[in-house]
Symmetry: D2
Subunit: 358 residues, 4 copies
Amino acid sequence: MAGNSFGTLFRFTTWGESHGPAIGVVVDGCPSLLPLAESDIQPWLDKRRPGQSRYTTQRQEPDQVRILSGVFEGRTTGTPISLMIENTDQRSKDYGDIASKFRPGHADYTYWKKYGIRDYRGGGRSSARETACRVAAGAVARAVLGSAITVRGALVQIGPHKVDRARWDWAEVDNNPFFCPDAQAASQWADYLDGIRKSGSSVGAVVEVVASGVPVGLGDPLYDKLDSDLARAMMTINAVKGVEIGNGFDAASLTGEENADEMRAGPEGEPLFLSNHAGGILGGISTGQDVVVRFAVKPTSSILTPRRTIDVNGAETDILTKGRHDPCVGIRAVPVGEAMMACVLADHLLRQRAQQGR
Amino acid sequence: MAGNSFGTLFRFTTWGESHGPAIGVVVDGCPSLLPLAESDIQPWLDKRRPGQSRYTTQRQEPDQVRILSGVFEGRTTGTPISLMIENTDQRSKDYGDIASKFRPGHADYTYWKKYGIRDYRGGGRSSARETACRVAAGAVARAVLGSAITVRGALVQIGPHKVDRARWDWAEVDNNPFFCPDAQAASQWADYLDGIRKSGSSVGAVVEVVASGVPVGLGDPLYDKLDSDLARAMMTINAVKGVEIGNGFDAASLTGEENADEMRAGPEGEPLFLSNHAGGILGGISTGQDVVVRFAVKPTSSILTPRRTIDVNGAETDILTKGRHDPCVGIRAVPVGEAMMACVLADHLLRQRAQQGR
Amino acid sequence: MAGNSFGTLFRFTTWGESHGPAIGVVVDGCPSLLPLAESDIQPWLDKRRPGQSRYTTQRQEPDQVRILSGVFEGRTTGTPISLMIENTDQRSKDYGDIASKFRPGHADYTYWKKYGIRDYRGGGRSSARETACRVAAGAVARAVLGSAITVRGALVQIGPHKVDRARWDWAEVDNNPFFCPDAQAASQWADYLDGIRKSGSSVGAVVEVVASGVPVGLGDPLYDKLDSDLARAMMTINAVKGVEIGNGFDAASLTGEENADEMRAGPEGEPLFLSNHAGGILGGISTGQDVVVRFAVKPTSSILTPRRTIDVNGAETDILTKGRHDPCVGIRAVPVGEAMMACVLADHLLRQRAQQGR
Amino acid sequence: MAGNSFGTLFRFTTWGESHGPAIGVVVDGCPSLLPLAESDIQPWLDKRRPGQSRYTTQRQEPDQVRILSGVFEGRTTGTPISLMIENTDQRSKDYGDIASKFRPGHADYTYWKKYGIRDYRGGGRSSARETACRVAAGAVARAVLGSAITVRGALVQIGPHKVDRARWDWAEVDNNPFFCPDAQAASQWADYLDGIRKSGSSVGAVVEVVASGVPVGLGDPLYDKLDSDLARAMMTINAVKGVEIGNGFDAASLTGEENADEMRAGPEGEPLFLSNHAGGILGGISTGQDVVVRFAVKPTSSILTPRRTIDVNGAETDILTKGRHDPCVGIRAVPVGEAMMACVLADHLLRQRAQQGR
C-alpha cells in the first residue's frame, strides 16, 4: 500500500527512480510565512552530492533543486511545497547483469518478488539517489525548526575504526571528506578506505546525529514516541541495519545506578542533568538535553569480488558489480540522517503545539 | 496528538493507567471468521505476567482478559475487538516521593513537563503495565498470521553476560525464568541477577525476536519498510534504547564480501540463501528467510540506591525507590517483543494482500 | 481494514455491538488539564437516550458512562480517555427472522456479504446504539472547544413537514420531544408521527446543526477541508443519505449574485457578512460565521408492513420487524449530529494550532 | 496540517498553484503490473479541459500530462506515480483587484486569514485548476478498477432546470457541451446559459455520478464507510455545497415502506433488488447495485456585477471580476466527480482485498 510518505503534520512524500527523468518530494503541512528559497535547500543537497571526493561514487549529478509550488514572494504559503530534481546523468547503458541477476545483499530480489517487476536501471526506486529528496525535505524542516534548534551529524565509525570521543570537534566535520569529528581518525580512515576502494570492496559505518536546543516535551507516547519515530526514520534510510538512542545497546550492560541521569537544580528551578545516557529522551518525550541518535550502515553490496547468486530464471550464477560505486555509503548517509532528524523534530514540534498549545 | 494507536490495516489502540480501574486495547481491522476466544489470548498474558519468579516484580495481577466485542459465536466478525484487563492490585498507598520527585532515568519529569499533570500512581500511563495490552493484541495478530508463521523471542544478554549462540536451543526458553535459549547462561544469570536483586539494583538486557515462515514480499518501501516498522515497534516498548535487524551494528565493521548473503538455487528455482546477515529483510522487504530483530532494554530507574534529583518545585533532593520492582525489566520484554513483531507482520500481510492481491 | 476511528489529532475509536456486554469509545489526543468528569458527559447521553417519549424506541438503557482512563483528579492528563457504557438490556430473545432474513434497506445483507458473519442480535455493530459512543466523544470535544464555541442541533423536517424558519427559536428545542425549534411545527409533527407510529411505519427527517463562535481559519484544504470532514462525519451516522453546507442543494438554483455573501467592515476592520449562504465555510476554511450543516435521515427499515426479501440461503420470503422501534430515527440523530460537529471542530482547532500556532 | 492527500491504500497527493510553473499529483499505493501510459490519462484531462465550448472559461491550457515515475516499460511498478502538468498560460497580468480585495463567496478571505499570505494569481491553490490533478489520479484509479467497473457522470441540473429522467440516455452525454443525458434539456440549457453568460453572471448545478459493476462488500464501517468517503470526496471539489447518495434528501419525505429496496432471488440465489433507493450502499457497504452519488455546485463568485466587500486593510469597497470565467463551473465538475468516485472505489477495492482477501 501507499508507503512513500513520512510524518503526520509535517509530512513529505517522495517519488522517482534513479534513472527516470526526475525525482522529487512534496512537503505538506509546512507552516506559512517562513522565508524559503531554492538557495536555502541547495547547500544541503550539495553536501550530500556524490563525486566530491574519491571516497564516494563518481557519478556526477548537479542535483539542482527547483521549487514548483508552495512558496510565494519568498515565503511559504502553507500549501504543498513541491521540489523537483532532474536526473541529468541518465545515459543509456548496459544493465544486463543487474537486470537479470540478483545482487546478494541488495533489494533486487525482494522488489522483483514483491512487485513482479522492477526498474532495474541503477537501482530504480531502491537507489540511494532517492535520499536527495529527504535532504531537500530536511532543509524545509530546518526552516520550521528555526535557529534555536541545531541538527548536526557526524561519522563515528568506518569499518572497525571508531572516532576517539575525547577528540570530538564539530568544527572538524567540514574539514575532511568523511564528516569525521576527529581529525586523527579522519586521517586513519583515508588510508583504510583507500585500501577498500582499490580492492573494489566496501565497508560499513556508524553515523551519529545530534539535535541541540530541542525543547522538553516533544514526542507522543505510547506509539508515536520521539525515539520510536526517530528509529523508524533512520531505519528507512538505505542500508541502515540498526538504530540506537543515547547509550543504546551499551545500556544493556549497565546497572540502574550507572544509567541514571541525575539532576541538580538550575538557576530557575529547571533541571541540570549531570549526564545524558538517555540521549535526550525519556518515556518517548524529549528532556531538553541533546537528542542523540546513532545508526549503523551496512557495506554496499555493489562490489568487484564475484558473489554466488541466481538469476531471474532461478539458475545459479555469479555476479560482480562494475563501475562507479561507493566504498562506504555511510559517508553520504550523514546529511540524510540529519535531514530525517530535522523532519521528525519539525513534525513533533507541530504535534506538541497542537495538543498542548506551545 | 493522538499517539496511542499502532498499525495501519491491522491497527490497535491501547488505553489505561497502571492504577486506574482497568487497561485495555481495541484491535481494529482484523479479518473476519478467525476462531478467537479468551483462552487464545490468556496464555500469552500469563507468560508476561509478573510475580512468577523472584527475578520479576512481585506485584500480583491476574491479568485476566475479557473480550467485549468483535467476536460472535467463537469467530471474529471483522468489527473492532475490544479487550479489557481489570486492575486488581490497585490498593491505595503512599506515593509521596514519586508524586513530588522525579526519578532520574524515568519518564516522571518529561510527562510532567509535557502535560503539566501526570497520574503518578505506579507510573501511570508510562508504566510497563500497558505492555499487557500489546501482548493481548499480539495474540490476535497471531490468529491473523496463522500456523505457517512462527514468532519466538529469547533473552540473549543480561548485563554484560551474553548467551553462547552455539548452545542455542529454543526448547530451553521455557525451562528457565529468563526466556534464555542457553541453559548454561541461564544458570549463570540466576546467580548474577540474585546479586543485582539483593543489592536493590537493576540491570539491562538484550532481547531477540525471530519470525519464521514469513513469505517474501512483506514491507512497503520507502517509509513503511518492514524493518522501519519493526524498529518503530520495538522502540515503543518501555525502556528500549536500541533496535537492530540481522547483523545490526556489527554490519558497520564488515566488508561487502562478508555481509552479502549469497544465493544458490533451490529445487524449484527459489533462492537458498547461504547466510542471513540481512536478518530476513532487504530494501525494507522480507526475503523469505527468518526475520531477526534485537533490541536493548535499559536497566529500570527504580532502584534502592539514592540518586540525586529535583522535585516538582525545582528544589534539589535525593530519591530511592522502595518496594516491588524488576531487577531486569528486559525479561518480561520478551513476550512483548514477540507481540509487537506479530502485529507488524499481521499488518504487512494485509498490506501486501491489498496492493498485490496475494 | 481498520475503519472505526474518526479524527486525526482529536481522534476517537469506537467498539461494541448492541447486544454484547458493553460498548465504548477511546478518545485520543485530547489536550491535558481540561476539567472532565462523568457528569460532564452523562447529560449528553441522556439527551440521546431512547425511551424518553413515545416517538422513540421503547428500549430502556440507562446508558451510564464510566471514565476508565485519561482523567486524574478531575482533569484530563493528555493520555487516552476510555469511556465505557454497559449494555443492560441484552436479554436473550428470539432473533429468528432477523438472523436468517435480510431486512430490505438494512445493513443485514451487506454485512453478511462483506464479512461472511454478523452479530445479528439487535443489529450488532450496525445498530444505532453505537451512536451513544459518538455522543460521549462529543462531550469530550466540547471540553476542548470551550465555552466560546457553541454547537446546537435541531430537527427541521419530519417526513414532508418542514419547520417555518421565521418561527425559529432555539429555546423551543428543549420544549418538545423532537428537538424542534418551531413550536407550531412540533405540535403538527406530534399528530403526524402518532399516525406513523400506530401504523407501524417509519419516516425520514432532516437535522440541522449549527456551530457558533467558530474562529476564522479552521479547515485544511484541499482534502481535509472543514466541509469535507463535516460531510464525512455526518454521513457516517446511521441512516444518513445526504449532507449539505449552508445553502446546500439550493445553491444549484442560484446565480452568483444571489449566492454571494457580501461584506461590510466591522468596527475593527473585520468583515461583517451580510448573509451566510456559504454556511460559514469558504474554500474549505471557516469564515468566522456560523457553521451550518444539514443532513437527511432515511426512514428506518424496521417496519410492521411485510416486505419482500430473501434469506441467507437465497430463498424468497417476506419479512416484518416486530417489537420496539423508532418511528423516526432522525429525532435521536440530533444529539449525534451535534457530537460529530463538535469532534470535527475540536480536531480542526488543534490542527490549525499545529500549523499556524494559534 | 498536511491536508493535500486523499485515500488510504490508493492514495494521491496534489500540489501546485494555478499560476505557478506546474501542477501535479503523486499517486501512491497503485498495484504493480497494470498497463499505464500518458495516453491512458490524457483523454480524461481533455474531457475536463476548459475552453472547449462557450460555456466554460476561455482560458487555454493544453493540460498535457507527463508521467515522471512509477511506470517502467509500459506497466506500473508499484512505486509512486508522479504526474505533472505544466502551466503554459501563466502570463503576467494585473491581479490588482483580486490581490487586495476579497471576492464575496470566494476563498480569498479565508486563505488570507488562515495563512496570512496567499498566492492571489488566478486563485492560487484554491483555483479549480487543481482539479486537473484529480482527473489524472482518477485515470490511474480506473486502471485499478479494470473494465468490470464503469464510472460515469452527468449534469442533471443547471440553475432551476433539471433533466427529465424519463429521457435519460448515457449516449447523449457526449453529444452536448454540458455532459447532459437528456437531449431536450441540453438544448434548453444552451439558451438559458447563454443568457447567464452574456450578463456576466453565473449559476449553480447538480452533478450525478454512477458506478456500475461495483462488487458487494466495499466500505469499512463505521467511519470509513463507502458513502462517507464519497461524501468527503465530493465535498472536497471546489464549490460543492451538498452531497447525497441514492434518494438523498428526498428520503427524508419517505416512509419506510416507500424507501425499502425489496429483494427477489436471482438465478444463483443472489438478490435481485426491485429498486435502488439506497444508491447502492447499505450500512456504508456496497450492495452490488449501481452506486449513485449527486452533488450540488454553487455558482462561481467571479461575476461582472459589482458586489460589496472589504479589502485587506479592512476598508469597504466593491469588486467585480473581469475576464475569462465559467458561467457554470458545475459543467467541468462532471469529469472531476467521476475521478473522485474512481479513486474512492479503487481505495476500497484494495481495502476489502486486504481485510477479506477477495
